[in-house]
């Protein structure tokens, strides 16, 4: 069997806030079709690590490479390959739910954006809200829209910070199934989670951050 491509390579990553070192000499290699779950207590550094991986935060030392390209949040190549669901997602206040997804699909050059948008919208159960402006959505619906933005576009690496947040039980179950399918189709996934069922069903490896309780 051919060796799978290394999608994400993290070497010697360090992040500290003042004297408080969050993580140091952190190494990780994620290949296509692998799903890494980051677990650990609150404040262990899961979100900080993910922010460093997507380029939203700058590590103090170490390097992050995506498909051999050094991580730079502003690089179009990185943006093309990496889909993220972390807490800083913003929305145009005057574009509806479906228009956001349509914009993303078209911006990524999808040949048949309408079909893809309809599929994803149906999957995240936001069809009745398709004409609503984001400001009127509930927190759970906003989370579903955030997840939809990751699934409506092409991607090679998916990075998510507690994707199960604010989802109902049915939503967590759907997410679990969707991520398993994504992984099996060759997508590399890194996600932080406090939901054992999601970690157990999706992750191929579990990395626990911080000191044990």
């Amino acid at each position: 069997m051919a060796k799978r491509t290394t999608v994400l390579k993290v070497t010697g990553l360090k992040r500290a806030f003042g004297k408080n070192t969050i993580f140091d000499r952190f190494n990780l290699e994620v290949r296509a079709g692998e799903a890494i779950a980051l677990t650990g207590r609150n404040g262990a550094g899961k979100s900080t690590l993910l922010r460093c991986l997507v380029g939203a935060d700058r590590p103090d030392d170490g390097s992050v490479e995506v498909l051999g390209t050094p991580m730079s949040e502003t690089s179009p190549e990185i943006r093309r390959n990496v889909a993220t669901v972390i807490d800083d997602l913003d929305f145009f206040p005057d574009l509806s739910v479906v228009e956001h997804l349509d914009l993303l699909a078209r911006a990524h050059g999808l040949e048949n954006p309408d079909r893809m948008v309809d599929e994803v919208l149906d999957e995240v159960q936001l069809v009745p809200q398709s004409g609503q402006l984001p400001g009127t959505l509930s927190s759970g619906q906003r989370r579903r829209l955030a997840l939809a933005t990751a699934f409506v576009r092409p991607r090679k690496l998916l990075i998510m910070d507690e994707p199960e947040q604010r989802l109902d039980t049915e939503g967590v179950s759907w997410l679990s199934g969707r991520l398993q399918t994504e992984r099996k189709s060759g997508l590399a996934i890194v996600f932080a989670s406090h939901e054992p069922s999601l970690v157990d069903s999706v992750a191929t490896r579990v990395v626990t951050l911080g000191a044990p309780r």
Binding site: V54, G55, A56, R58, D60, D61, E73, T74, S75, P76, R79, R80, V82, A83, T84, I86, D88, L89, D90, F91, F92, P93, D94, L95, S96, V98, E99, D102, L103, L104, R106, A107, H108, G109, L110, P113, D114, S130, G131, Q132, L133, P134, G135, T136, T149, R153
Partner: protein
Amino acid sequence: MDGAAGDDEFADYTGHHDAGFEGVEEPAQPVIPSAAELKRQINDWRRGRATRNLWEAFSDAYIAVIAALMIGGALVNVVFRAQRVVAQCTSEACLSARTVLPWAAFALAVALALAVSRLFGPVLASAAEGFWLLDTPVRRARLLGPRLVAALVVALVVGALVGAAVTALTGGSVLAIAVWSSGTALAAMAAVSCAAAQQGGERDRMTQIAGYLFWVLGLAALVTVIGIAAGWFSLGLSADLDAEIGLAVVAVAAVILAVSLVLAVLRLGRIRRVRLVSGGALVKGISGAFFALDFGLARDIVVARRAVAVGQVTPRRGHGLGRQALVWREWQRLRRFPQPLFVLAATLIVPYACDALGMSTLTPVVAALALFGASIQLLGGLRVLTRTGGLARCLPFSLAQLKISAVTVPAIVVAIWAVLTVPAYLGFGDGAATHPASEAGLMAIATAAAGLLAAIRWTQAKGPDFSAPMISTPSGAFPPGLMSNVFRGFDVCLIATAPMLLGFSPMWSLAICAIAALILLNSMDAESLRARQAEQQKELERAKKQRAAAAATERQRKR
């Protein structure tokens, strides 16, 4: 726990010892305090927690108070000196401005009062008041009365200042200043009062329609000034007649104020808590943003509020792929909410008005400032893409590509604005400076570019970074960039139009605009520069460590 003992405890706590049905007394009706008593109690608590008295607070803030007094005094002096100078002007343009501009100020002040009232309430309450006070059986109207009075006082002060300043600056007499100041103040109060009456009736349609009507009236008055200055028509109003009409306006405004105030007071107790609290939340958010001098955030809050009020739209299919899709969406957003275009169209008057009023030299800077204010509304897409980075990360373009895509549609609209202002630079009205066609065209383009770039700079502003080392000032520690936010945008306008103001070729202004565009639309903003600097610093440290390690190995080897 012993059951009997527990019952006894409960009995002591409630004050009822007899648990039998026969001996049960009717519970005494609770005495509901009056709103005034409740407020007195809250004030007592507040005073009890105060650590400084009023004089001590004043002593601490004396620099700010003296600075405000000095600036206020200087402004009043400037207005009075301008009034004396302009009062001597007897040209048709000056006379028309003197007659009609107070009308414009009057209409625009009323429109503004209606718009602000509709946005905030005008009667509002904080979330805490909503939870702790408005849910009690205390008479709500009594609690809210002072809120209505506060809103009316603000309208009175702002209206009086606007009316007096505009009448004075156009060279009006003392009588005219007094009449228009009173008229504008009373009309602004009446507007707030009408909006409050509508709020009590759970409606705001009339406020909205009246607001639009007054905006149109204000703009019509401004166009009239230009028309008279250009000699298209004449109003033939004398100063005496103008003052008489002003007095009539005062009377009408007073009557409307009285009637609407009675209605508003009668309906105060009927305003729903959710409406009161939402206005309070908006004020809280905006005041927080203003305290941090984060004007972009203040605007974001208002925009988000409007979007929530709209709630639902008819989705439109996108067009094109890649960056074309983003540009197309910008166009669709503008078509969906075209209000910014009306504001922009209104600013077309500015360069013509400057010419008409004999202030041709100032036309570029004043027009650029007006365009700066109007263009901010066009750049909502740029704001969303640059304020957090979350959405930009989802799109496969560089930051520069994203910015250019988001700015394309506004730039086209502003280019049309520039073309329509060329006649103002060619020479418009009596005594206006004239320029050859080529130079007028370049001046119009440079002015428009300055206004748009200023708006782009303003839109991309980041809030102050309170985690960074603070700067020590006599007024306390300030985060870096806090004060520069005040001048953001204005700086581009002034620097870019300075060569035209000083009589140099507009090519100099265009060159400054080109440099500003390179900085603002490229990835060369302050944040990216800091990121690059940090990256270079890291590289340097890494190289230093490697050199030190190599030297240590070499020393080891030699030993």
